[in-house]
Every structure is written in C-alpha cells, then in structure tokens.
C-alpha cells in the first residue's frame, strides 16, 4: 500500500450538508499532517472521517522538527468567483526539520478532525536540517467548479 491518489473527503461534505457537522472552513483551525508512503489500509473517502482514525492514524511522519498532528495552515478562506469555489490557506512549513513525506492530510482540527482533502505529493520529499514547505497552488488547495 502507499499514499493514495489525491482525493477529497465526501464525509465532511455530507455531514456539513446534513447539519451534523458545524464545519467552518473560514474560521476553524485547519492543519496539514504529513504521512509517509508506507501508509496502509483501505482509503474510503466516502466514509473516512479524517485524522486520527484508520487509515489516517498511522505512518504519520516522524523526525526532527515535526510534531504529530502537523502544522496549522493559517488564514483559511473559502471564496467563490467566476463560477469556481476555492478553498485556500497559508502554506504550512516545518523549519529546521529532518523529515520525509509523501503526502499531506488537510483536516479540520476544530471539528472532529474532519478530513478535507488528501494530497499526494507525487514523490517523496525530504528535508535535512532545512525547511519543508508545502506551497499551495495559486488556485488553492481545493476547487469546486
């Protein structure tokens, strides 16, 4: 098994639309947790809740400069323009870190650690006593067109 293809979590959308999850992607604390390519298990994006529950409860990155749970992506914002909804936030970074990661889980740390999107980096990335940065695209982390 390995880090799955990038995908979004339907569970959080379903629960938000059914008013069983008070998710506010403009105000909640959004985090990015890093995982290695050794992550295993069944990736059920329809039903998986998110961080801390299988399969997102093992194979998180360990190493100097990394704390379990990941880093906060500050200034989260949901905007709509030109027929496209965009979710964006600041780039998470781990300074003076020695870590290797294959992908990131972006989740809502405020509400039940709901997974929002899992991003496969496409390659292993390693920092050595340096800064590990995930630089989100100009079009954001997630778009709905």
């Amino acid at each position: 098994m390995a880090f799955p293809t990038s995908n979004w979590f339907r569970k959080v959308v379903q629960d938000a639309l059914q008013n069983t999850a008070a998710v506010d992607l403009n105000a909640d604390t959004i985090k990015c947790a890093l995982f290695t390519n050794s992550i295993t298990g069944t990736f059920a994006f329809d039903t998986d809740t998110g961080y801390g529950l299988a399969p997102w409860n093992a194979n998180e990155v360990t190493g100097t400069g990394y704390t379990a749970g990941g880093a906060v992506c500050t200034s989260p914002a949901v905007t709509v323009a030109g027929g496209t909804l965009k979710f964006d936030a600041s780039d998470p970074a781990w300074t003076t870190s020695t870590i290797t990661a294959r992908g990131g889980l972006i989740y809502d740390d405020t509400v039940s650690d709901y997974g929002i999107v899992a991003v496969n980096f496409g390659s292993d990335f390693s920092s050595v006593a340096g800064t590990f940065t995930v630089q989100w695209h100009a079009n954001g982390i997630l778009t709905i067109a």
């Binding site: 979004w8 920092s127 590990f132 067109a145």
Partner: protein, 102 residues
C-alpha cells in the same frame, strides 16, 4: 507504454503489433525475439538542476512519478542543509472525484 516491434516481411520496417503474448499461461517466455523487440515510447524525464553561485545553492527538481510534471524542488545548501518545497496542484472536486495531476 510498451509495444512489440516486429519487422515487416517485405519492407523490413518495424510495425506495432498489439495483443501479442510473449509468455505462456505459466509465465514461461515463448517469444524471445519478441521480448527483445519491446521498445518503450516514453522518454526519460531528466530533473532540472540549477545552481545559484551567489546563494551557494543547488536546486533539483522533483518529478511527479505519475504525471511527469514538476512536483516541487529540493534546495541543497553548501552546509548540508536541504529544503523541500512541494508544489501540488489544486484538488478538483468533481463528479468523478479525480484530481488532475495525480
């Protein structure tokens, strides 16, 4: 992507043959010449490397293993430090739940 190039009997030019089995059901090689003729249409993608002599750094592109696109860079410093910069494409929420670039 691989294909079996078989010499045309008349022209000698190689032609693409599809649905050719080189192995029997037990996995034993049955067409050694056919296996030798397998060629790959893909081209090796060499990562871009740039050197900044002022900053004394070397930046090596990381290639996305699935798409061949740029996945980010590693910046090597002269003192041994290495920075990693990941540049993932945005996830696209669609009916097929497919995220371009991954």
């Amino acid at each position: 992507m691989g294909w079996v190039g078989v010499p045309d009997e008349r022209s000698g030019e190689r032609r693409v043959v599809s649905a050719v089995s080189l192995f029997d059901s037990d996995g034993k090689l049955t067409d050694r010449d056919g296996l030798r003729s397998v060629q790959f249409s893909g081209q090796r993608r060499v990562p871009t490397v740039t050197v900044d002599r002022v900053a004394d750094t070397k930046t090596v592109e990381a290639i996305h293993e699935s798409t061949g696109d740029t996945a980010g860079v590693h910046v090597h410093h002269s003192d041994g430090r290495i920075d990693a910069v990941v540049t993932p494409p945005p996830a696209s929420l669609s009916g097929t739940a497919h995220i371009p670039g991954d």
